[in-house]
Amino acid sequence: MAADYEVIIGLEIHVELDTQTKLFCGCSREYGRDPNTQICPVCLGYPGALPVLNQEAVRKAVLAARALGARIHRRSYFYRKNYFYPDLPKGYQITQYTYSLAEEGALEFEFEGQKRRVRIERMNLEEEAAKSFHTDDGYTLLDFNRSGIPLLEIVTYPDLRSPAEARTFFTRLRQLLRYLRISPCDMEKGHLRADANISVRKPGEPLGTKVELKNLNSFKALEEGLRYEVQRQIQLLESGGRVVQETRLFDEDEGVTRPMRTKEEAHDYRYFPEPDLLPLDLDPKFLEEPLPELPDAKRERFIRDYGLRPDVAEVLTLERETAEYFEALIQGLTDIEQAAHWVANRVLGHLKGQAITAFPIRPEGLRELLRLVETRKITLNKAKDVFEKMLDTGKSAAEIIEEEGATVIASEDVLQTIVDEVIRENPELVEKYRKGKTGVIGPLIGQVMKKTKGSADPQVVRSLLVARLEA
């Protein structure tokens, strides 16, 4: 039944831009401060207060528009979008309408082995509303610290064809925005939010009635909310019903969508040009600023230039900071693949999702350790052990090895001397080996390892022993 339907999804995404101050006033917009301590006449909507646009918000929005290949309007306008709601004390939101900041961009990404391209219809700068909390006794409580924080609105065309694809798109968009360093995109803090338009139809039929779905504020909520809505709409149609055009809220706890019951007035927002703000003419400097290397390009380069496996390159480029850590690490190293595996497995494994910028061992420190492995001064096993100790103690690789009493195998020469020593000390075992009992090589390796305090490479020891024994 579900297979007979085509799912059509468009997303409307809001990103809080990472600035020091709000969009139209100099209030700080730091997250987590005491309620109503970052407020002024502008963001409280006092009559007569005049908005002045924050240039850093413009810069960051333009960066995003360029990274998405959008057509940027050298001149754009701000509009008033009128509606009554307590979190909007002016009775209107300052946003952009016709002559958006940018139009017609796209994000390309891979989904289930296919190249997908989702077009961006428009991108607008607008102000955030106050934060509201609804109480059980019928009140709404308002914190205006959030009022006026710069938002970038990104509206896609209805190019997405499944909830899972929508999730992948959203993930990739977040990755891109984080690469641009225009927002931390911390979804728990509400930095990044998504609403969706969703409809279903049988292929070839005209577009179905679309429902607007709100409150999709995590990757999981986005996918689950859309999934529920697809099922609901199909069941409705299959049972002879009709989809009503409405706004529904996703209830993450119960996993269902419900019609939104508010008295928010009409769909006529009576947009008109904001008389308090002249047109926005973009300074060319915003268009000329170099873009950082974007995720796809970086991943491809890692595969091409470092010979990394695609899955390893993907892990190393998920976050720009991880990629930068890796590239700082490999300066002067020859075994790039080993370094990549160290970052992908040990470093990221230790971080368990935390940012690499919080990792206690800096690239130089890890490089020192990996150099010791490359030059065969310590074994890989020993390196893993030293790595853990570096994390525990905060000491450098050299300090730890020094303290443990020069367990470093200086060179194969030193190892050769130890091998010769062991051969001299064990004439019976040597005799047995030469008579064909090659299994005794085990105890011999063991003795060499013991003399090197476990810091020699067993494979190297084995080959050195074999060379002597079979000479």
Partner: protein
């Protein structure tokens, strides 16, 4: 009562304005006249006129992203109709204002 072009009562309620019946009647008259006046404009054929958002030349100056002190919280909350632990308290829009139409 004959409905005017503007639902004054409804707008007054949304804007928390307390109007006497006389004020309401007076405002109804004024607002309706304004709308009638503006409606005259729709009679003009502007199909080949370039839209103009602003009557003057020039574009906006941008502000540097530097924080500035705002206003004191007590001062701001002091003129609010109601507060609750430093938050503004208002009737919930979810139950909300009765629609008068």
């Amino acid at each position: 009562m004959k409905k005017g072009k503007v639902d004054v009562q409804h707008i007054a309620q949304l804007a928390r304005l307390h109007l006497t019946p006389e004020e309401e009647k007076e405002l109804q008259k004024h607002l309706d006249r304004m709308l009638e006046y503006v409606e005259i404009l729709t009679e003009v054929d502007v199909s080949d006129v370039e839209p103009m958002a602003y009557p003057h030349e020039g574009s906006q100056r941008l502000r540097s992203d530097t924080p500035r002190p705002g206003i004191n919280r007590n001062e701001a909350l002091g003129i609010a109709p109601d507060e609750f632990f430093f938050l503004y308290r208002v009737p919930s829009p979810l139950k909300g204002v009765k629609d008068k139409s």
